[in-house]
Symmetry: C2
Subunit: 192 residues, 2 copies
């Protein structure tokens, strides 16, 4: 089930830092600074793992999911919708759900306009991290509200020592992670 | 000075909506749903207007600036740094400034890690909207703190009836906007 993408694994080994509390710091190439050439390679790998004929549209969540989602959208010629974390004042017909963040120990809302996901649509969800799977579950809820279907989920990095991956795969969702981390114990990055 | 990019103007005419209060709603192709093919055309136009040899790195602000910045970074082979609107707990050495939002009538902070912009670096700022120029001024302040230099600013849409464009051009910054709106009076979109 683990299928690590060597290009990303190498970059994590070079630049990733494991901090206290199970935090993986990858802000020099994923979360704050972006390397478009790496991004293109990662999205091309998603494009090999998810047949573009199997989905209609890509969904993600602002902000860190936007870059890989857009690059995949470009390669696969699919539109991208990014869920917002605050309900914009200028939007009506919003689908809203709540997501619990373990990192911040708070609940926040994510929303997507009902104008942009439709009944019967097949959606591919792309995001940077899979940990507890709370954001992914929120996206499933939004898709259900629209009577759309999540057909796959692609993550740059999965923390296999948290339960998100199992929860999603138990629902028979096609989940792909480009780098799976088995452990961040003792501030050491161990790949699965 | 006005140099409208016909592809974007046509899309705004087709899908943009002018709402009460000078709001231009473009969430079907810029702010919420993204069309990667349009994005590629817009970023290619930025790439014609800003010589890649004239700058070292692209900066933007989460979330709506990320897509055009990343696509330009891909075309021009430049790294992209996106300023964050909240100071992440895992980052030290942060450069921080305050930005006043007229839309929301509040002040918020934007920050960039000092690890990712450096003294002497030439930065190109890319964002979706130019209105009052407050976000752009915040980025200039962050660049100054790092002793880096903003050499150009590219916006998808400029509201010429607000003062941001004049303020930035008076500082001899090379400003390019792909679509310049002269007026949104009476809920009608009038291009400059």
């Amino acid at each position: 089930m683990v299928n690590n993408f060597p290009v990303l694994v190498e970059r994590i080994k070079q630049e990733g830092k494991s901090l206290e509390g199970g935090i993986l710091k990858v802000d020099s190439f994923i979360n704050h600074q972006l390397d478009p050439d790496l991004l293109e390679q990662m999205s091309a790998e998603f494009n090999r793992r998810f047949d573009p004929a199997s989905y209609d549209k890509i969904v993600t969540i602002e902000a860190s999911g936007i870059a890989p989602a857009v690059m995949l959208g470009y390669l696969a010629h699919k539109k991208v919708v990014f869920a917002k974390k605050k309900k914009p004042s200028t939007m009506s017909n919003m689908l809203v759900t709540e997501v619990f963040s373990f990192t911040k120990n708070t609940t926040y809302q994510i929303c997507i306009s009902g104008e942009f996901i439709h009944a019967g649509e097949r959606l591919l969800f792309i995001d940077d991290f899979l940990a507890n799977g709370k954001a992914a579950s929120g996206i499933i809820d939004l898709a259900n509200q629209a009577q759309a279907k999540i057909v796959g989920m692609g993550f740059l990095i999965e923390k296999a020592f948290q339960q998100g991956g199992s929860l999603l795969r138990e629902q028979n969702i096609h989940v792909e992670s480009l780098a799976t981390i088995a452990s961040l114990d003792n501030c050491t990055i161990t790949f699965a």
